[in-house]
């Protein structure tokens, strides 16, 4: 592990409600997959990106600037996953003025897979493709709630597995799919 591994980026919080409970919870859950330190700074106050409680006391209002810094052995991968989440409004989908891309779940999968050195393969109905390959994912006809198998091999497989598990668990954070799953179960 090299302490000199540091990745940092700045972004603007675009969520209507700001950096609120749902973005924070998601961010922390994914941040915990990594060994690196994750620091979130908003308007001069900083918090551990792995602590929901610490981040909730930041004043992350809509329009505020956020600096995300990852330090440690898997900082590159952590920064790649977390900055993608943050730049995409933490996958919160309740802004009524936006049009959501119907294949956003596949973009999320492809992008997050590409953050890792490991090869991430995804299988559905006995067909297997590289999860970084957006076009190949489209061919597989994956729905947000499809059941999928992952095969992950490489140096950062442990972290990649946790991220993929989260994507599956939350149906790729496609919130309409999440909500309809509640209704169906009642």
């Amino acid at each position: 592990m090299s302490e000199s591994d540091e990745y940092s980026s700045e972004l603007t919080i675009k969520n209507k409600l700001g950096f609120h409970v749902r973005p924070i919870q998601r961010f922390a859950e994914l941040a915990r997959a990594f060994d690196c330190d994750v620091e979130v700074e908003i308007e001069g106050r900083s918090a551990s990106g792995k602590s929901v409680l610490e981040m909730m006391s930041l004043k992350g209002e809509s329009g505020a600037h956020m600096t995300l810094t990852c330090r440690g052995s898997d900082a590159r991968q952590g920064h790649c996953v977390l900055s993608f989440l943050a730049k995409n409004r933490f996958f919160v989908e309740d802004q009524l003025d936006e049009e959501l891309h119907p294949l956003r779940h596949l973009r999320r999968l492809a992008h997050m897979s590409a953050c890792f050195d490991s090869t991430v393969e995804v299988a559905k109905d006995e067909q297997r493709v590289d999860a970084e390959d957006f076009e190949a994912l489209k061919e597989l006809d994956i729905e947000p709630r499809s059941s999928l198998d992952f095969q992950i091999e490489g140096p950062d497989a442990a972290q990649a597995e946790i991220i993929m598990d989260n994507l599956l668990k939350y149906h790729f954070y496609v919130e309409t799919a999440l909500n309809s799953s509640v209704k169906n179960s009642e």
């Binding site: 929901v52 909730m56 006391s57 009642e186």
Partner: protein
């Protein structure tokens, strides 16, 4: 704006019996109806909104605290309810621990600022070791109110 302004003896339940999330939420909403903070015919809609919100990610924020919340268009006012469970409620919290303190917040659309401020105050309290230490020693709703009032008075976000 203080959290304490939104809590009184009628909106604090010292002994939540439910050990499952949904039952605990329903019991708090029933209390809200008794306290005249929620119309009775809104219980089911509100509960459904809270459960939908949990499905997007647990509001168990750690340290035994959960902040279930939802916005429901048909509501007129924001209501805050507090429940304490000795046994703990399973809430799927990020740290895997059962939840002993539930701050439930429901309100209409358009009160986002109030909402966000309440959440910040609750999370500041939840982070505070002293608060949790003293909370465990409280025996009645008046003591809880006093404690929250004290802590908000000296807290970092006050």
């Amino acid at each position: 704006m203080c959290l304490i302004d939104h809590l009184d003896e009628n909106t604090i339940d010292m002994d939540l019996e439910a050990v499952e999330r949904d039952a605990a939420l329903r019991s708090l909403l029933n209390m809200a109806v008794e306290a005249d903070r929620l119309p009775e015919d809104m219980i089911d809609t509100t509960l459904e909104a809270l459960i939908e919100r949990e499905q997007l990610g647990s509001t168990g924020i750690g340290n035994g605290v959960a902040v279930p919340h939802a916005r429901v268009d048909e509501l007129d006012d924001t209501a805050v309810l507090f429940g304490h469970s000795e046994t703990g409620v399973s809430f799927n919290a990020l740290d895997g621990e059962p939840v002993h303190y539930i701050f439930l917040v429901v309100g209409p659309e358009g009160e986002e600022d109030l909402y966000a401020e309440l959440m910040r105050r609750i999370s500041s309290l939840a982070r505070d070791d002293d608060f949790r230490h003293f909370l465990r020693q409280t025996r009645n709703t008046a003591q809880i109110r006093d404690l929250i009032e004290d802590m908000e008075g000296v807290g970092p976000t006050a």
